[in-house]
Symmetry: C2
Subunit: 285 residues, 2 copies
């Protein structure tokens, strides 16, 4: 999907939020905002928003003189999620429909604030309970269940660090024999990279590859030839998160999107309100 007018103020706000999260000084924040305004002016509105997102958030990285200013945040979120995983696994196993529960937690990973200081925070209990209550579109869920059963090669496009730990119950139900998990090729925001997949224990249990790109989404023209080959060979691609939806919404491929609607633009495109869990196959022409 293309970039919408609402994306422009949202970009600038995201850079400010990033500046705060990274505790930039006032002067660093000012410079980051000035560069973000320039990047926004140069945005190509015919292309998906995550492409401008990369340019925006590269600024803070360059400014901090590190390729991965979010590394510490991501480590914290991964560790919190790993602390929560056994409880989450028990809840999925105890569910009347463990596959559906696994999908619900994979969607919820997008919404649970892993900036909490401890896995024993009462907010986590509320977030877990809410995850299991969030309705899934039954047709989308059955399509996903049947497609996972029938597929021989499943590509799972991961989203953020921390969140990928919450994908584990679903990844286990797909099974390591036919599954390849995909992370970003280079650090961008809190998106999961190979380092995060390792820290999350994913690389020990599943085949994990990277897509060669540092766009916070999956924009095929920017991805490596080897990833594009895997993308073409897969008979099911599960695309997690809104950034992957924004960049793949018009692709001709066997993609099922799994994400939470996070902004008014995507709400309009999907026809579902902000906060809705989407499990939906990409439209074919």
């Amino acid at each position: 999907m293309k970039t919408f007018p609402e994306c422009i103020p949202c970009f600038i706000k995201q850079v400010l939020d990033a500046a705060w999260a990274l505790s930039l000084s006032d002067e660093e924040t000012r410079i980051a905002l000035m560069e973000a305004l320039e990047a926004a002016r140069n945005a190509d509105w015919n292309l998906p928003a995550p492409l401008t997102g990369r340019d925006m958030h590269g600024i803070t990285a360059r400014q901090q003189g590190t390729p991965d200013p979010w590394a510490a945040h991501k480590r914290l979120h991964t560790q919190t999620a790993l602390d929560l995983l056994p409880r989450l696994q028990r809840m999925v196993d105890a569910s009347p429909d463990p596959f559906a529960a696994a999908v619900q937690f994979a969607v919820a990973g997008n919404a649970i604030d892993l900036g909490v200081t401890s896995a024993h925070d009462p907010d986590v209990d509320r977030a877990f309970a809410a995850a299991l209550q969030r309705p899934l579109n039954p047709d989308g869920l059955e399509d996903l269940r049947r497609s996972v059963e029938e597929a021989r090669a499943v590509l799972f496009l991961a989203d953020n660090a921390g969140e990928i730990v919450f994908d584990i119950p679903l990844l286990e139900r797909i099974g390591p024999s036919k599954l390849t998990v995909v992370v970003r090729g280079r650090p961008i925001l809190n998106d999961a990279t190979m380092d995060d997949a390792e820290q999350s224990g994913l690389t020990r249990r599943f085949t994990v590859i990277d897509n060669g790109s540092d766009i916070p989404g999956t924009w095929l023209p920017d991805c490596s030839p080897s990833f594009r080959a895997a993308f073409s060979a897969a008979d099911l691609i599960i695309s997690k998160g809104q950034g992957n939806f924004e960049t793949l919404s018009e692709v001709q491929a066997p993609v099922i999107f799994v994400f939470l609607v996070k902004c008014a633009v995507v709400a309009r495109i999907t026809g579902e309100p902000v906060g809705t869990a989407i499990v939906k196959r990409a439209a074919t022409p």
Copy 2:
């Protein structure tokens, strides 16, 4: 007060909201946003935000080829407020402390959405009830009451069209003999101008002057010499609205600010949460 980092994304969002309110086309919206990004890059962060606000919102005006793209909105809001005025007057008169109730409605004028289609909308009842329940700082209120009684020349710096109608019960209690109402010198956003004061019936009842400026606030270096003379001569200046606070917060003058905290930056500066009614004298050195 100076411009803060948070003002930057807020400016851009305001221009987008303005584009929507004015039903600009997609291409006009894109151009307005591009110019807003440029104006934001040129902002002087050492000066108050409303100065950049003028540059931002001049864009939509130039684009629409009219000095006052908000004229129709302002007329609608003024008419709705005039339809509501008799009910509001009765509520003030019936209050145990009519002066306090008049101040509460003057503050609430800032928060009541006059985009409602009718004065009989149930939202209006709720907003009126909320206005009378919003607590006022007792020291600020008593300072204002005493200062109004003792003053010989009161300058009332008005804020928006529509809102100024809700100021009428307070203006009446100050009394036309010692009161001068001040509006903006030229149209900017929905700020009240002489036209709006006329349509609101203010010019028939009170002395109304303009400040010669089209900044959505009161920035003395941009105001006319005649306004600055009136400002110096007044022994009480009642400054309505957040824009006037932002531009006058550091002035050395007998100013009492009356406004609703509308954003996180002003919340930090005032030490009061968003939504708080402020009735507070300008700090003197």
